[in-house]
Symmetry: C2
Subunit: 159 residues, 2 copies
DNA sequence: TATTATTGTTCATGCTGTGAAAAAAATTAG
DNA sequence: CTAATTTTTTTCACAGCATGAACAATAATA
């Protein structure tokens, strides 16, 4: 009989489930801590920081595209952008081709600040990777990739 | 000269930093999605769900211990517990040994519901692990462990 | 031209969270 | 034993995160 065998396998899996839950929870807590650290360090709310980071890849963004990238409602974006405009880090101009659209872009100060923040975040991740040796780094990245696609797969099943 | 060599190494590290950032962001998004899925499925706010899960390991909890475990202010716990009491999932009794302390415990309904939720969460994690083969599972767990301790280490440097 | 679709704002609502102040009870110092 | 201190919890004011409905302005289409 492989009843015993199956039992052992199930017990291992149950142990792994518990361990996975605990690890994910702790990692989540670390990420939350880091976000709130950056937020208080720069005195910018977390959502505004996340928004600021989007301008790294593109010069002009619209409220709609920001709402898609941050995965929040458009009305939320209005508030976030208002915060950044008040801080004079972002300015908006009306699209000359389409008066409905506001093109959002970083001010000089916004660019300076956002580059500073990008550098600090990269540095934190650099330090994190340097806690691991070269082999571990590759391994961790490929494991995270596996985890990510596993999570996406489970999400699909969930529906 | 190993200048070229160092340059190559730095480029690899920069690539890994970017990849790590992207992976972490996507995984975080998945976790957020799962939490909000459970919250709407059971019609219980996320913070209350997190609180409910604490009763798995102990029969009685105090506001103070909950605040430590959830890592939130005590005043926040008051609100969370009030929500659970209104839903008749938790009840509080005054500690006979110390009238300052309220002992919080699950009602029958609360126990039933919380066991149901625990089972569903475990099932999601089981599905996630079963997306991987046996070797990958072990690897992923040890990589998460490495990541976690790396994050803790970086957190300490941060201060 | 009239209808429909898109873009963004405003508003009401609810959840998450903090910190200061206060009330009640227990502990400790004198 | 009384007075001062500490502990536990609650209340309140505040701020941030986030949604969805309703609306106005503009553009595209029939």
């Amino acid at each position: 009989m492989n009843n015993n065998r199956n039992n052992t396998i199930d017990m291992l899996l149950d142990y792994q489930i518990k361990r996975l839950q605990d690890l994910i929870e702790e990692i989540l807590q670390c990420c939350k801590g880091q976000a709130s650290y950056l937020s208080s360090k720069f005195d910018i709310p977390e959502a505004e920081l996340r928004c600021l980071m989007l301008f790294g890849s593109e010069r002009y963004l619209t409220a709609k595209s920001i709402s898609q990238r941050l995965d929040v409602a458009k009305s939320r974006v209005t508030k976030i952008i208002n915060g950044l405009i008040q801080k004079e880090m972002v300015e908006s101009i009306i699209d000359p081709k389409d008066a409905r659209i506001k093109l959002l872009t970083l001010t000089q100060e916004g660019q300076r600040k956002s580059q500073e923040i990008v550098a600090i975040i990269a540095d934190l991740h650099r330090k994190l990777l340097l806690e691991l040796d070269s082999e571990q780094r590759k391994m961790v990245l490929s494991c995270l990739e596996a985890l990510r696609s596993g999570m996406e797969a489970v999400k699909k099943q969930r529906v």
